[in-house]
């Protein structure tokens, strides 16, 4: 998986490319703990190039959503591929995430 982040004042955009699974989720967790500083109030995940997500990946997204809620920040998920949107629907994430399609 490739992680591309871009910070712009209090906004952070993260593009994920490839597979977010048991093997690669720790990479994203590390990236977030280094880059999702307290001053980030708008976090955007671009999943346009994400081909696969496992429950471990879903858990990282959920805990990040909780973190952003706690600081009254916003988390937006955009360019969600259909295959991954289906999974969000199954686990009810379509309702708790802010999704821009």
């Amino acid at each position: 998986m490739t992680i591309n982040g871009e910070k712009n004042n209090t906004a952070l955009t993260i593009e994920l490319e490839g597979r977010l699974d048991t093997a690669t989720s720790p990479m994203l967790e590390d990236y977030l703990s280094e880059n999702l500083m307290e001053d980030i109030l708008e976090l955007r995940f671009d999943l346009g190039q994400l081909s696969y997500i496992s429950s471990v990946g879903l858990r990282v997204l959920l805990s990040t959503q909780k973190k952003m809620d706690k600081r009254n920040g916003k988390m937006i998920i955009c360019n969600v591929p259909d295959l991954i949107m289906d999974i969000f629907d199954v686990v009810g994430f379509a309702d708790i995430f802010t999704i821009e399609r």
């Binding site: 048991t22 496992s54 429950s55 959503q65 909780k66 295959l83 199954v90």
Partner: protein
């Protein structure tokens, strides 16, 4: 029927996936079904790797079968670790807001929803988990 016996360790997930995907590719499995099967396989294999033999390690046997007309993919996971029925756990409430959501329990719920049938049995010292998925081939 194909069979893979492998050490139940998360680091071998790639080999497990290659075994499953290799056979799915034999019949041009649609991308969506392949991703769902991969997800279920990852979930179950990782669960067995993390919990079945703790703190020791052990093996898992994965059997893969296919039936024709209708096309079903059947995957059976066997381990001889601690008896554990993953289906006994209550489903998470997927209607709760983010703050009240539990981080765990999603995986097996997902598996139950994306497979057509999931069954557990404990026989002769083995945990046996059988997953079935119907495949709709594209015209």
């Amino acid at each position: 029927m194909w069979e893979l016996e492998i050490e139940a360790k998360t680091q071998y997930l790639e080999q497990v996936r290659a075994f499953v995907d290799g056979h799915l590719e034999m019949f041009d499995c649609p991308v969506k079904a392949k991703m769902q099967i991969d997800m279920a396989v990852e979930e179950i294999f990782v669960n067995i790797s993390q919990y079945a033999y703790t703190p020791k390690t052990g093996k898992v046997t994965i059997r893969m079968e296919m039936t024709k007309e209708p096309l079903f993919v059947v995957l059976t996971f066997l381990d001889n670790g601690i008896p554990y029925n993953p289906l006994a756990k209550a489903d998470p409430d997927v209607t709760l807001p983010a703050q009240e959501r539990e981080i765990g329990g999603l995986g097996i719920y997902m598996v139950k929803n994306i497979m057509d049938d999931v069954a557990y049995a404990y026989q002769d010292g083995h945990n046996i988990l059988k997953l079935r998925k119907k495949i709709e081939l594209q015209e």
